[in-house]
Symmetry: none
Subunit: 200 residues, 4 copies
């Protein structure tokens, strides 16, 4: 990689990081491109050399940050040395919920305008070299399980949407229950969903 290319990459990452900080602190609607370039210390025109508009940068960030989050969870899972499939899913759930709870700006950011489509893309199309494909991780988890699962994608879909939407409400508004109180309900329900999808 040439010096120019490196410089280019640095500028781009600078803009991405700066945007992320602003998006998570003041929200995307209230963040202007002026804000971004000023904080990043580059000229307005430069922004347009790298991104189409604010929403372009947002989509890339959602993908990257979601991917990152799940990768961290997968890493932690590996270290934890958990064997059972159900336990693995619960572990990831806990990890992700705790992380989002500690970083509400991130939660607000990736949740708004987040659809399964965007999400799946985030988890299956690595943005940077360090990002890996979460679907692979998931598939390996399924293979390693002691039993077969029918419709594993739909199952994951149900679980993620359930956790995501209830978690959002609990973390952001403590309503109708706090995250602490929600977790046992979620764990019970998620385990049950998994069992439901076990091939007998």
């Amino acid at each position: 990689m040439g010096k120019a290319d490196q410089n280019k990459k640095l500028k781009m990452e600078n803009l991405l990081n700066t945007s992320f900080e602003l998006f998570t602190s003041k929200g995307i609607n209230k963040t202007s491109i002026s804000d971004i370039v000023e904080k990043a210390g580059v000229a307005k025109g430069t922004f347009y050399l790298y991104f189409k508009d604010k929403y372009d940068i947002r989509n890339r960030l959602i993908a990257h940050k979601s991917s990152q989050l799940f990768m961290q969870a997968a890493d932690a899972l590996e270290k934890a040395g958990i064997q059972d499939f159900e336990d693995k899913i619960i572990f990831i759930m806990d990890y992700v919920l705790d992380e989002l709870s500690a970083n509400k700006g991130l939660l607000a950011f990736i949740y708004k305008d987040l659809s399964w489509a965007v999400f799946k893309r985030a988890l299956t199309t690595p943005m940077t070299d360090s990002d890996i494909d979460f679907s692979e991780v998931y598939n390996r988890m399924i293979e390693d399980a002691d039993y077969k699962l029918r419709d594993p994608e739909v199952m994951l879909f149900l679980i993620i949407e359930l956790i995501g939407s209830t978690g959002y409400s609990s973390i952001m508004y403590d309503d109708p229950v706090s995250l602490r109180d929600l977790k046992p309900h979620l764990e019970e329900t998620v385990r049950m969903i998994i069992r439901q999808y076990k091939e007998n």
Copy 2:
């Protein structure tokens, strides 16, 4: 009610309806107050006689439309003469999902910026005289059931969030499965969640 008051009410409803049409067709961000008043055929200042800003009118509409939707479902449920609690919930689920599927603008509108808090408010604070309190309907359903349920509010929360978020993805993006394909999965899962909350 005087002629003036009637006229006033008409203007307000006119603005509400016009806003709703615009919000559901082009989205709230792209709808300006200029758009609304122009389409409604009133002066700009008139808008501010009735609403604080765009988000004021949006919140009232979300509340009203959500309430309306659930009331229609409750009405249809009554006519259907279903006795079993589980069957009732599934009926409402089907009704609401079909309705939203037929009216994607409405779905996009009430789903964005929708939190459980807003939602619950919508369902428990009737806006117009015809609106009634959905939580009453729900509570009666629970009382009429042949069994007791623990934490009925959390249970409803889990069910609504699960149906809402998966339904949104299926209806709007047909991803990862179409609504038609999603429904059996949802029905199975919802029934299971209910059983899980039955006091034995």
Copy 3:
């Protein structure tokens, strides 16, 4: 005076008093007619039955309040039983400055847009029955003096403008000196101006 006329007068005074409170507390520019009628508890249209616009009401108030202030000073002067002309002027100066210092809203209100022309009119054209003509008071003071004065009007003009503009600065901004510190300078200077106008 008929009952209707009385009622009319009451409404008018109500509007005058309300306007004065608003003008002196938030300034004339930031006071809207809506503010006035709301606080006064009358309808918007009613305002226009009594006044042409905001500036109409302002001019009447400046005249009335200035007149009132000088009349109070004149009353106090009479009670004080001071004989010497110089001492009388100084007494009025002190009285007016103290009053304005205690009521900065009033000072800001009557000083802004205040010209000698408006001021003189205020002092010579009584607005209400209780208002009397200050120029008469002043003329009598001159007649009662032990000496003749040349150009008494110009002399009064110089004195009032000097006191008014330096007093405004001291009271409002404590700059370049506080009112307390300004007074000895003013007294000395005013006495000297008067002596200058004595016919030898």
Copy 4:
């Protein structure tokens, strides 16, 4: 200075000059930013690149124009070769009054909302390179005088406020006397004030 910087400076001066013309001809309240940019031939947004709002540009203009006026007077004074302190002050008074009399728009502009604080700032904080500090000029005049003066700042305050407020009335309304008739009174009074502040 680069071409861009020059262009920038030109645009700014263009806006300043245009604003000044409008402020002095139709008043600041009736001058909108739309008026300014239209007359200046630039886009609306351009205004906000250089100034915060209308009052920002006004304050800068008051400072600049006041400074300019006093500097002209000081220049003329130097050329006149006057030695006596009293005569110098009278010379400046005459110069400034004549200038304001010939340019009533300027008078109206710098007098409104003018306080000693703003004024002093205008005279002591040069805006452009050609502006110099008037307080230095004044201090040198005092040092060069044949006698000592007590409280020279308060003395200047009294004199400026006296001249300013009476001059305003005479020039703008010819009331109670014309400027021509006012001048002898002012000269007499100002000389007397100075003598009063001489240390014996």
